[in-house]
Symmetry: C2
Subunit: 303 residues, 2 copies
DNA sequence: GTTTATTATTGACAAAAACGGAATTATTAC
DNA sequence: GTAATAATTCCGTTTTTGTCAATAATAAAC
């Protein structure tokens, strides 16, 4: 394979009509220029330059070769310069993935502010509730609400707590006894968040005591808004983060179940693919996101 | 400067989604692939590929880099393949230079036949009577009619003799005595071929004796046809090759001066720039030209 | 859960290539 | 003819590149 350097040397020699000047221009020893040109001529099987100690000129073949390579070489140089300029913390492209409900609730503000601050960074957001794999999803950074990730090939960064609680429509307890203790929860009406068939395990705690309840599997969904809608219809009890249920709790559309008992928070978390060194743009966004959350306690309160 | 190889490796890894398969495809050791990618990532200042032992995926930056380089790389590969195919003895381009008179008299037949035999070779002919330098003229091969070349940076190849003789219009000798011996030649009416101000030296020989006559410098021209036209008008005596004067001698428009004395022939010669190794196309043409002359004694007789 | 197979990485060593300076050759200018 | 300039060659040095084995890591199979 012919490399770029010999073509560059050929161009320099042809343009400057001198081996020695080309050497100076390219910061090479004259001997190197000779060797590189000889090598190229051998690779292409023809003489490219006619030279005496005083004159240098392209042969027909040399003119053809150079004329065909020159635009490509220039393109290459341009692209390289472009890229080296554009690979900076404040320019480039970012592929995100985020859960549907949280993403739609939270990201518009974040992304809007981010693009205001970094107009050079374009963003592509893929909303999915079941993230199988950060690498396969082909994204640079994943926003998730969860505990630690299951696949070990990722690095994570916790942003803030996302409190959650068990909720249900008040009407549900018209036909069922209102539970007073986690053990009262009837598996049949417990609707679980999850994407892999297995229902969640809910851990209720109160004053040092803790009860683990396996949610039911009659209704499992990977979408919190769906579960919320179901709950509002009085179809069952589910555990959802406040950013989904907040409005409903305030308006009384739903009520908290077992308010005396607390359920461990989820965490708003950023997951990276296993970078050796964080790409600049990714770092910029992660920092911005973190600062954004820190600077907006009001927003944090709605989570 | 970023070279082609790392881009090629990046492309292979991205396409095959595997370092080891890329290594196999490119006939490299897996370790080399790792090293080359690392180097490229360092050169560009960002991570391009996210990899675990099981998965490989481009980062955003990697996708951008590859998408910009890929078309250039493909262009490069195509051009290289093209060139390596096209640098053959029977394809390409040829820049010739030839003297005006001879060129117009002889080359049409030669070039026509040549292009019939080698349709893949394009020809560019520059007609000049004063060739200063084969290199500066930027040609691959020069057809000349002369003695050995003055600049030593060329290689030559004699094709055939080009006889010449002193001629004049018969009418000239109505007002001048007809010379019987070279010494009778009056410098004033001797018109010389030449391009550098100096008149020619004519060497007349007959039965072992030789006389060198310096031609006059009242009329010097680098164009034989012009001298011939002058001679026909009775303006003077000049020494010209037969291919110019042949018709006139047959028709009696001009007569030979000192027919008993002979003048050393010129040679139809091919001059090359100082090639280290003759470019294939040039060799093809030179061979064809030589064979053409050899195969056409009739043509040779007109020279 | 444990084992196994696959894969990327690392390090050490060998081979190859590129580099650079000095001497050589060749050509033009004086 | 002589000097000056430029390309080339030679050769020792450095750098890069390739290879091989060992290691670490991970997903899949049992």
């Amino acid at each position: 394979m012919i490399e770029l350097k010999p073509i560059k040397v050929l161009r320099a020699v042809s343009d400057l009509k001198s081996f020695s000047q080309a050497a100076r221009a390219l910061d090479l020893a004259p001997a190197s220029v000779t060797r590189i040109i000889n090598q190229l001529e051998q690779d292409l099987g023809t003489q490219l330059l006619v030279r005496t100690t005083r004159q240098v000129a392209l042969t027909s073949a040399g003119a053809t070769v150079l004329s065909r390579y020159r635009p490509l070489l220039e393109g290459f140089e341009e692209v390289t310069q472009d890229l080296q300029r554009s690979i900076r913390p404040d320019a480039g492209h970012l592929r995100l993935t985020a859960p549907v409900s949280l993403g739609i609730a939270l990201l518009p503000q974040v992304i809007a502010g981010f693009q205001l601050a970094y107009p050079g960074i374009s963003v592509e957001i893929n909303f999915t509730d079941t993230l199988i794999d950060v690498i396969e999803e082909n994204c640079d950074l994943a926003v998730r609400v969860s505990g630690p990730p299951n696949d070990k090939s990722t690095i994570w960064r916790k942003l803030c707590e996302v409190p959650r609680r068990a909720i249900a429509a008040a009407a549900l307890f018209d036909r069922l006894p209102c539970p007073q203790h986690p053990d009262d929860l009837t598996t049949e009406v417990l609707m679980s968040y999850g994407g892999k068939g297995e229902p969640e395990m809910w851990s209720f705690s109160r004053a040092g005591t803790q009860r683990n309840i396996r949610a039911g599997k009659r209704v499992i969904s990977n979408n919190g808004d769906f579960l919320y809608a179901m709950a509002r219809r009085g179809e069952g009890i589910c555990v959802l983060p406040d950013f989904i249920t907040g409005d409903g709790l305030q308006s009384g559309a739903i009520i908290e179940v077992l308010p005396e008992w607390s359920i461990p928070s989820l965490w708003l978390t950023l997951f990276y693919p296993p970078y050796e060194r964080l790409p600049p743009v990714v770092g910029t966004f992660a920092d911005y996101f973190e600062a954004f959350i820190d600077d907006h306690p009001d927003l944090r309160a709605t989570l």
